[in-house]
Amino acid sequence: MDDIVRSAPNRPWVDAANGTVEREAFVGEDVFRLELDRIFHRLWIFVAHVSEIPGRGDYVVRTMGRVPVIAVRGSDGEVRVLLNSCRHRGTKLCRGEAGNARHFVCPYHGWSYAIDGGLITTSYDEHLPPDMDKADWGLVPAPRVEIYKGLVFAAWDPGVPPLPDYLGDIAWYLDALFWRTPEGMEVLAPPHRWRVRANWKIGALNFIGDSQHVRTTHAGPIALDKVRSERDGFYVQGGDSFQVVTDDGHGCTLTYLAPGMPERNYLTHPPGLRDAYADTLGPDRLAMLHHLRVMVGNVFPNFSFIESQVALGEKAVIVRQWQPLSGTEMEVLSWVLAEREAAAEYKDRALRHGFHNFGAAGVFEQDDLELWASATQASDNPIARRFPYSFHSSLPFDDAPIDNAKGPGRSYKPSNTEVAQFAFMQRWDAAMQG
């Protein structure tokens, strides 16, 4: 990896003063390899939601950058993240996507591991030299695993700050989506997975604060939602809207209901949970949720979230991960969540509506993906790379945060500027400089 790091273009890709970003950042394979080293194999990366692995031995198979891992609940109830590769000759222990294991047995030569990763037997232990200590040959654990409000993150750098410190002020907003009742949230189905021939950062930028694309990219569902909402006698109109940027390149965009819009919006949450929200979140965040039409954001680098009400009753919390495969391709994972305490009927509806709008066949998703792929394809050539991307509509607003009594972080208006996106890119650039 050192050779790669030395030979990689060693310059800032982001021109903070002029509001531009080199296209190479969105297509370069050298850039991608450096991202793996400086970002994905170093910082906190989302791995799973606790509800995906509720029982002992339950596991899901995921990827952190290029590193295949098993997230497993051990016999002691702890969640561990283990390198999915036998210590003997590297074979994957788990070759499916999910399951329940009592042991991890390598199908190649039979090395067997406990679900906490410890090596039990090599099958030929009698041939081992006496000074080989099996305790040193367990599955490689991610040195740092922490759970924030049901969200499991892991890091390969033991020196990363504690997860709550890393999340900082964005946690205040995450709480409102991921822990607003005493039991918290649960994942309603396995994640949708799909590949896009687009750079992973386009997804992160799209979620952290890209209000400019909504009217053009999503002209279809927006026009059609009006039809549907009028039929239902319920039209959701957005009002006050702003972006929030927090330290470490996290951020989100919030849009409230227009003044005077009825609180029927709130009724589309499980009605029986209203008191639980108040107790769990406290008055400030209850007021925020109460009138929130959309909250969409990103935790650096590749964990995104959205709660959006598209039409009457169509409210769902979505978690999204932008998993890089190369400089020009990613795999997207997308989960739908609901409150554990919610009725089964509510969960079914939230799941259906969640992936109708945002998922492997989502009516919003499909238009984004086609345009992201075309952006990556058209930028992946030497001529296009001479001409940087524009983030200019960040500049006039960067130094002028608004006074936002509603929540922490630095807030900016109007929401359809590019402040949060440019903050993400500057954080990215700083991480890439090492």
């Binding site: 070759r95 499916g96 996507e97 799909w194 059609l224 992936f355 492997a360 066949a361 009516v363 499909q366």
Partner: protein, 173 residues
Amino acid sequence: MNEERGPAPASDVAFLEVQRFLNREAALLDRRDYMAWFDLLTEDINYVVTARVSRPAESGPVDYAIVDEDTDTLRLRVLQIGDPRLTRAENPPTQTRRFVSNLEVEDADPPDDYVAHTNLLVYRQRGTAPDGDFYAGRRRDVLRRDGASLRIADRLVRLDHNVLFDGSLSVIL
């Protein structure tokens, strides 16, 4: 309804009627004639597409829905992809060519309704990409008698995919 329960095969006449119906339906979808296609559905249509989670054979695979529509949401979906002003994914239109085969037809209740099992292979080509992609799966349709015609009352498409390719599914299967 369950494929594993063992079919009660329908008559040859019914088989031919169902085959003719499914061929006509496939042609409408390949021609992107979504309004005519929508007329082939009952008002209580349930339209589901699933993908699957790969798990150890002992546990068996798990299917999960990636599309689950009733008549309202399905209408919105086809209005979007059928109107060039309302879609980016399907403008320029993707080209599809679908192959509906291995038909098995069972009698259903009430008589004159059928359950049809087919294999589905859809070649889909987008833009100027020289290489297209395929969706493959097994389809189970409940076909309901409506006068001289049949209508689709329930469709389940079980895709043989874990990770979908090239963006989002923006065509009807």
